[in-house]
Symmetry: C2
Subunit: 206 residues, 2 copies
DNA sequence: ATCCGTCTAGGACGAGTGTCCTAAAGCGGT
DNA sequence: ACCGCTTTAGGACACTCGTCCTAGACGGAT
């Protein structure tokens, strides 16, 4: 079949299963059945289960990087890009309600397992954090950028966790709307009424 | 030793280990070592591992119920009670940074395992949701009460997940402050400037 | 057709799991 | 001191797990 193709199929199946069932709960037998491959054959492509996990994380990192680049190409202003990020939870609402956030659930599990790949998985959070920070900087809030980025991340994690627990789609939409309202105060254009958003430098919070 | 005492010790140790290591990753041997009891002896007190999980969830439910009752006794107005809830993430910041939220991480894991006790564990979320809804109702926002309760829950889950991933205590405090600011708009007293909070009934959103 | 490096199948291995069984230790009442 | 119920210890059981080993199938180059 070609080693590269088989390897890619393994990573793809493992990615899906790790997401849906968790890393520890997913056995080699389950992945083997999904790819229609013998259990022993894994060790030609990977040297351990941890090695597969590492490949899965790398694949997710690459995938998300491409997604962010696409957004940068499609959305001219940083406000639109951030809105795009906020919309993730409604775009992926089906998967999120069924399985939660792929990033949050994986890092949480790896942390509890004391798994060495935790740092690697945290890189997914860092990727988003850095990207969001850059968008907020471009939006004119350099000093608060990191705090704002973390706030948006916290929003997405909170929504994902609860939408997962309650299977509530309306909740997702309500929270997204609330987030958009909050964002509009920071999006150069409107700046809405008077109060609300403090100028950067007014207080060094980040 | 007395069956009740032993049983309580098992539940206590299992609770701590399930929280720190996850349910599936915690073996009977680990609990046995913690309680200094033989593995076989478990089945005198519990008929399966699932049964222990069930007892742990019940214990957590009881514990949280008492906590909420205490808050109701100590805080006269509902605004103070909600603030008390928001403060959880800073009160328990050490555990949260190390192990995440006990409720969120458990329900997420059980969902991935397809474990039948998931509904029982979700009851913890429902407990908080119902209680918060009641506080917002008393605060004068009956129509939005459930949506506001869910928003507060999402806040706590988002903060817990990210504080866990990044081990960032400052982040916790920033987000708590942000939440208190948001809350002050809903706390009858100030109602702050002009805009912001829509009166209940202005739109039926919940 | 032959050969050789690439890729795969299948089973064996030891460790660890939850569960169950049986014997015995502990202990209060007589 | 004895009995009977409660509580415990320890090992056996079947099973699943990740890992490893070896033999053979496949396919392109000669």
């Amino acid at each position: 079949m070609g080693a590269a193709a088989t390897r890619a199929q393994i990573v793809e199946a493992a990615d899906r299963l790790f997401y849906r069932q968790g890393y520890e709960h997913t056995s080699f037998a389950a992945i083997a059945e999904a790819v229609r491959i013998s259990r022993g054959n894994f060790y030609y492509h990977f040297k351990s289960k941890d090695d597969i996990l590492s490949a899965v994380i790398d694949a997710r990192l690459e995938d998300r990087r491409r997604m962010l680049q696409r957004w940068e190409a499609e959305e001219a202003d940083p406000a639109g890009r951030i809105r795009r990020f906020v919309e993730i939870v409604v775009t992926n609402r089906a998967d999120i309600q069924n399985y939660g956030c792929p990033v949050g659930t994986l890092t949480t599990e790896l942390a509890k397992l004391g798994h060495p790949a935790l740092d690697e998985a945290s890189g997914l959070f860092t990727l988003f954090r850095t990207w969001l920070r850059e968008q907020f900087t471009q939006l004119g809030h350099p000093a608060q950028a990191d705090a704002l980025a973390m706030h948006v991340l916290a929003f997405s994690q909170g929504v994902a966790t609860l939408a997962h627990a309650f299977r509530d789609e309306d909740f997702i939409r309500r929270e997204v709307q609330r987030m958009h309202d909050w964002l509009s105060a920071y999006s150069g254009g409107t700046r809405s009424t008077a109060s609300a958003v403090p100028e950067d430098g007014a207080q060094a919070d980040a």
